[in-house]
């Protein structure tokens, strides 16, 4: 499998989440990407998962998410190795172009580096992008990409690296940054991650901690309209809104196995998120424990240098424990009560890389996914095109 295609299949995302490796010393590189896919699906939005504050994802006929542009530069300034990145990408969910990455990296020592700015806060490998967001990200964020403002310190080499990050609100949905005036940490999300590569196996792990979480839980899993108010005085958790109030922790594991001389590759990802606290609802204040388990496995096979196939299986297990006065009503208000489906998806993705000019990649892809996130399963089919150019602007 050519390196370009391998990178395409393995990278967490193309533009939205580039890796943090600097470009060549002294270079200024542009990235242009067009990611277009057409979905054939009955529902225009994904299933509403019974998770607090997680909205359904758009599944329109045409999706353009992850299309965008960026610039990267790696220069030596005052004897220090500095690289800068700025990238904008279209978000299908928000239907606008977002400043996805604006980052400054400083290589303090050969094995020590710090990045400041907007970046992906999850310090571990994520699944390759597919035409529709994977269940893990959908369950965690209700979105298909993750970026946050903060700092990440990295120690080690590409093969073995430790990462420590601190991010400000809203790094995680509902993550609160305390008022600095209260002399409390302004960090809304702490992250710790490590990765190691041994022979053909790459393993990465990440821990995230959200010390203070207040997230509005919008009930989307019912066709019963929700009363609402225009009175901002009572637009607050416990008055007119139902919110999860507590803290959150996430354990994330990723592993990828790609033998050099084999056409097969395997990647697996698992996560466990726990949220602890209370649900502060219109109809009461109840104790809450939420656990979200997720697993995803990709098995890839490359027939030729250009043509490959990936089979994906993914699932979520959503568990809530709610105790207290009016627990049932509050659980319903929060959209957590109807929880009798264990979401699953099974799919196959074919990719074909066209022979094109240098510094460009054009990949055609087609996918069929059986979606079991609703009581009745649904078939999603997709065809798409990804064009990516990375011209070096300087030196020419």
């Amino acid at each position: 499998m050519p390196l370009a295609l391998a990178a395409l299949l393995a990278s967490p995302a193309l533009l939205a989440h580039p890796n943090l490796e600097p470009t060549a010393q002294g270079a200024v590189q542009a990235t242009l990407q067009l990611d277009v896919r057409r979905l054939n699906v009955d529902s225009q939005t994904s299933a509403s998962l019974p998770l607090a504050g997680v909205a359904p994802l758009r599944q329109d006929d045409w999706l353009y998410g992850r299309s965008g542009f960026g610039l990267r530069s790696n220069r030596t300034l005052y004897g220090q190795n500095i690289d800068v990145e700025a990238a904008w990408a279209y978000s299908d969910q928000e239907q606008k172009l977002l400043a996805d990455h604006i980052r400054l990296g400083w290589q303090i020592q050969p094995q020590l580096r710090i990045d400041l700015g907007r970046m992906n806060p999850l310090p571990a490998e994520q699944p390759a992008t597919w035409p529709v967001a994977d269940l893990l990200m959908q369950g965690l964020l209700g979105d298909d990409h993750w970026h946050a403002d903060g700092a990440m310190l990295q120690y080690g080499t590409t093969a073995q690296r430790l990462r420590v990050g601190a991010f400000r609100a809203p790094a995680y949905r509902g993550g609160q940054g305390q008022d600095a005036g209260q002399n409390i940490s302004n960090v809304a999300l702490w992250s710790l991650g490590a990765n190691t590569t041994y022979r053909d196996v790459n393993v990465s792990a990440g821990l995230l901690h959200v010390p203070d979480l207040i997230r509005e839980s919008t009930r989307d899993n019912s066709d019963v309209p929700l009363p609402h108010t225009h009175d901002t005085d009572i637009s607050a958790c416990g008055r007119s809104l139902t919110c999860v109030d507590g803290n959150a922790n996430l354990v994330w594991l990723g592993s990828r196995w790609k033998p050099t001389e084999s056409a097969f590759s395997v990647a697996g990802y698992a996560m466990w998120r726990q949220e602890r606290g209370v649900i502060n609802g219109v109809n009461g204040l109840v104790d809450y424990q939420g656990d979200l388990y997720g697993g995803l496995v990709d098995v890839g096979y490359a027939w030729t240098d250009r043509l490959s196939m990936t089979v994906r299986a993914e699932t979520l297990s959503i568990q809530h424990e709610i105790k207290g006065l009016n627990a049932r009503v509050v659980a319903r208000d929060a959209g957590l009560l109807d929880n009798d489906v264990t979401p699953k998806r099974f799919g196959v993705l074919f990719s074909y890389a066209l022979p094109v000019m240098a510094q460009q990649r054009v990949t055609l892809n087609a996918a069929v996914i059986e979606d079991q996130t609703r009581p009745e399963s649904e078939l999603i089919s997709s065809i798409g095109l990804v064009w990516r150019a990375e011209p070096t602007l300087w030196p020419r």
Binding site: P50, Q160, A194, T196, Y198, V201, V203, A205, S222, V224, P225, L226, P227, H228, T229, I234, G238, V251, L253, G254, S255, G268, Y269, A270, M271, W272, G281, N283, G284, L285, Y293, G294, G295, V297, T315, L316, S317, I318, Q319, H320, E321, I322, K323, G324, L325, N326, A327, R328, V329, V330, A331, R332, L336, L337, D338, N339, D340, V341, T342, P343
Partner: protein, 423 residues
């Protein structure tokens, strides 16, 4: 040279150890990954709910998932025995001074515990200034009656129909109270009912116990089985017209939900989990007698208590559950049909062109900010009415827990009216 060898050896050992450690980390991580994958793959999704139920004892509310647990005063916890006694007292005419009326005279199950009259009539024939209100889901009302922000408990409210002399309702007085209680004491039905309901009282035949029992029965009058409720339970589907009406009701065009948006379709709600209770009252532009916002004397809403002009014509927004059964409408029963009610709101108030009550309610200076002209077509108004009729719980009239305990006996023996029991 020796130092370099030593350095190289140490470096190699460190690197070798690092490699071994990383291999171990990789194995551990893979094991953890496999474990988490198995956990996520095998474990199903589940929501476990443990709902506390204070002050209910062995009482079972049988609430749907979208109804909160009612608030019950510590001084009068729910018991089956009190509710059963209260049910008997509620339907018994012995409880009026002259033995002609029971609570059920003005609160009949077939009319969602209203009486079908524009204005209620007391036991002495005196006509009341206001329309009888439904008792369905009254347990969730933080204030009681049409316009009294200070009347907060059913126990306190019940003193009004029992003892009020202006107007007279059931007509109890200090003078006839011993006689009324004596009627109950001599009825063989009541001795065991009172003893079971108040086992700690040596003399349970007391007015406080009568009030407590009837209040308990009233709290048990919960309705949640309308077509709308069954739709929420995914047991029924609204018709196209009802669905359009629901969208208008909860949408920004008709905006009915601002005053009728809770699970009980009003905006004054209290329950066991309440921490913030809104007790708002509204002037809906029914009258404007003098062009300055005046309402008819003796029926001027919260103003009668506060004497603040801003409270002129302010009344509580009633629950719209079973509204199809509770005609005529508004605080004085002056609007005959649901269609007329919706038309008044669409017009932003009521215009009365002639008579003693003539005036343009739409220009009432105390009109609530939420009452504005709404451009609703006739078809849209009909859709809203269709939705309102989907809030009718047809089981109220046949629910044995709400039913007149004397009806079967009366109809099978003496041929009496089954509505209430005579002394």
């Amino acid at each position: 040279m020796q130092r370099d060898d030593l350095t190289n050896r140490v470096t190699n050992q460190v690197m070798s150890r690092g490699l071994m450690q990383s291999t171990r980390v990789a194995r551990l991580t893979l094991l953890s990954l496999a474990g988490l994958l198995a956990l996520s793959g095998c474990g199903g999704s589940e929501t476990t709910v443990q709902d506390a139920n204070p002050n209910s004892g062995a009482w079972q509310w049988n609430l749907p998932a979208f109804f909160p647990v009612p608030r019950v005063p510590d001084s009068n916890p729910m018991t089956f025995e009190k509710v059963e006694l209260g049910r008997h007292l509620f339907y018994d005419r012995k409880l009026s001074g002259n033995g002609t009326q029971a609570c059920a005279s003005c609160h009949q199950p077939s009319k969602a515990f209203t009486d079908g009259r524009a204005l209620a009539v007391g036991s002495t024939g005196e006509v009341h200034p206001r329309n009888s209100q439904s008792l369905i889901n009254v347990v969730y009302s933080p204030t009681l009656t049409w316009a009294n922000p200070s009347l907060l408990t059913l126990e306190k409210q019940m003193e009004v129909p029992l003892f009020s002399d202006h107007p007279v309702e059931l007509g109890l007085t200090d003078a006839n109270l011993p006689q009324v209680i004596g009627r109950l004491q001599t009825d063989p039905i009541y001795a065991p009912l009172f003893q079971q309901a108040f086992p700690r009282d040596a003399q349970p035949f007391q007015i406080q116990n009568i009030i407590a029992a009837i209040a308990s029965f009233q709290r048990s009058l919960i309705s949640a089985n309308s077509k709308f409720d069954r739709m929420q339970r995914q047991e029924a589907q609204l018709s196209a017209s009802e669905k359009r009406g629901m969208d208008l009701f909860f949408g920004e065009k008709a905006e009915c939900f601002h005053c009728h948006g809770s699970f009980n379709f009003n905006n004054q709600v209290v329950h066991a989990g309440s921490r913030f209770v809104e007790t708002t009252f509204h002037n809906t532009g029914l009258y404007n007698l003098d062009g300055k916002g005046a309402y008819p004397t003796d029926n001027r809403g919260v103003f009668e208590l506060t004497e603040r002009l801003s409270d002129m014509g302010k009344f509580r927004a009633p629950s719209l559950r079973n509204v199809e059964l509770t005609a005529p409408y508004n605080h004085d029963g002056s609007v005959a049909t649901l269609e007329d009610v919706v038309a008044n709101y669409a017009a932003g108030g009521r215009l009365i062109t002639e008579g003693a009550l003539a005036g343009d309610g739409r220009t009432n200076p105390h009109l609530d900010d939420l009452i504005v002209k709404i451009d609703l077509s006739q078809a849209e108004q009909a859709d809203i009415v269709a939705f309102l009729k989907a809030l009718t719980d047809d089981t109220i009239a046949t629910n044995p827990r709400f039913a007149n305990p004397f009806a079967t006996r009366a109809s099978s023996t003496a041929g009496q009216s089954s509505a209430t029991r005579t002394p």
